[in-house]
Symmetry: C2
Subunit: 307 residues, 2 copies
């Protein structure tokens, strides 16, 4: 199961499959891409090359990329694959059929990583002979440029191998403890957009103002520190504990329109422990310095591009 | 009311007042800071200087900064001010008392800009002799580094002057059409954090995984394009209309846990019209190119900083 050194099979040559192909090829993997539609197959090589060119500005790619071949025969793409990245349409019948076919041709020790955005592991794997070989490995959009990969699987060794594999290709994987529709990032995005749409519908601000407020405000901040860490640093020297004690109630008040969790004692404990683990021994002052370095660098970089 | 060329009065020398002082001074304004607490006053000059040093990496500051003087007498700080930035604690009595005092000493043509995060314009201005002279001008945290300023006021000329003034100091102001508690950005942040806390409480993922998913996923994206624009670019060549037609229903399903708006025909029209205005004649391909340039630049900048 040495994913890092063998060929990768890409199942499905749409945007996501193309993006994965560019990434894996750039990091020296040979890629075999299966795409059933003739017209789409013809476009693959050119599209993958263009994406690979963009990647070189962003990541420490290999000087010699892997090879790529494109086929309309699934068995052909799977023949010596060490890793299988599945990127078929978000249709449960299509996906289950494809897993059934893959299981005929690829031995069980080869992990099937599904790029699914909508389905959870237990739904996808329900009819498989070897469900443990499936993991969900969801990229973010646009896939060839975004570092995030969200992982879930029931086989710890496979998930660990997945973390190493995607890291070796310059991605930043995170692992879910429990499967969830939308994984993590799209749930966060959906929650935020819900309030954005609410503000548009209520006439509070127009789309541009809301988008700009995000880009020049929390978006910029969240490209450097996460939501919890931001509050940990927004509570002064007392950190997240101080934030929760003093501003927790006002957040809960605002949430009354938004949903169901409460900042009860148990949840506060989870948050505090989680932030402490994330701080990993770094004190507030150190965290603030690192955050500011990131904000400065990102702003300089962004500012130089503004038309 | 020529804010761009005159001295600025800063009322309140906490973090927000210090940050504004650094900003205005860096752009050539003389600053007069009022802070009632002796111990805090002693720290102002040093703190402002340190923040100004950070600003120089980020913004096109003037080679010769404005002067700064610190006083414990409010009337003294207001004496020749062309602009008043109020940064007192988030306590309505404190703020109303301070406006009452300011109105005694500063003529009505001088705008009072409140940095309030919690209160809306109508609450703040309720007891003023000249309520129209008040605007809310809320910075984001950390104030000396974040470009966003959220503006609301009832006097169009003053709000317009505020936009020009903050822009002249390197800020990126946005204007609300209707006052709202939390303005825009903190409403978005609160909506997102609500789901983040939900995922922690439900055991879906831990704090670190959620924060990383945000930083390496939507946070990074939202430092370049807003939430609406991201969906506009996530709908393929059909844009936001296509996105709403095909993925609107799944978003609404997910929102059932989150809140109250619906994607009815009227709301869809507002969204489509708003995105069109934001696109300002640029086509999908142009928008995608600009987005990718931003993602590349930000990632290079961020990557070079990672410990």
């Amino acid at each position: 199961m040495n994913a890092a050194t063998g060929p990768v099979a890409i199942v499905g040559g749409g945007l996501i499959g193309i993006s994965w192909s560019a990434l894996f090829q750039a990091f020296g993997h040979d890629v075999a891409l299966y795409e059933p539609a003739d017209s789409a197959r013809e476009l693959v090589i050119g599209r993958v090359e263009r994406l690979r060119a963009q990647l070189a500005d962003v990541l420490p790619v290999k000087s010699v990329p892997g090879n790529i071949r494109v086929t309309g025969v699934l068995e052909d793409a799977l023949s010596d694959a060490c890793w299988i990245q599945e990127n078929t349409p978000e249709d449960i019948s299509i996906k289950r059929d494809v897993y059934s076919e893959i299981e005929k041709f690829a031995p069980p020790e080869v992990t099937i990583a599904s790029s699914t955005s909508s389905f959870v592991w237990s739904t996808l794997s329900a009819r498989m002979m070897e469900p443990q070989r499936l993991i969900t490995a969801h990229p973010f959009n646009p896939p060839h440029l975004m570092p995030l990969v969200e992982l879930y699987g029931r086989d710890v060794a496979r998930v660990t191998a997945a973390v190493e594999f995607y890291r070796s290709c310059g991605r930043h994987p995170v692992v879910l403890k429990r499967e969830a529709v939308g994984h993590i990032a799209n749930r966060l995005s959906s929650a935020l957009w819900r309030e954005a749409v609410n503000m548009v519908a209520e006439g509070i601000a127009d789309v541009s103002a809301i988008d700009e407020a995000l880009v020049y405000g929390p978006g910029l901040r969240w490209s450097v520190v996460g939501a919890h860490m931001a509050y940990h640093l927004g509570g002064g020297p007392g950190g997240i504990e101080h934030y929760l004690a003093h501003l927790g109630p006002s957040q809960e008040q605002r949430w009354k329109d938004l949903g169901n969790p409460s900042l009860d004692a148990k949840t506060q404990e989870l948050l505090i422990a989680g932030v402490r683990a994330e701080a990993a021994g770094r004190d507030i002052s150190t965290l603030e310095t690192q955050r500011d370095d990131g904000l400065i660098a990102a702003q300089i970089a962004l500012r130089s591009r503004r038309p």
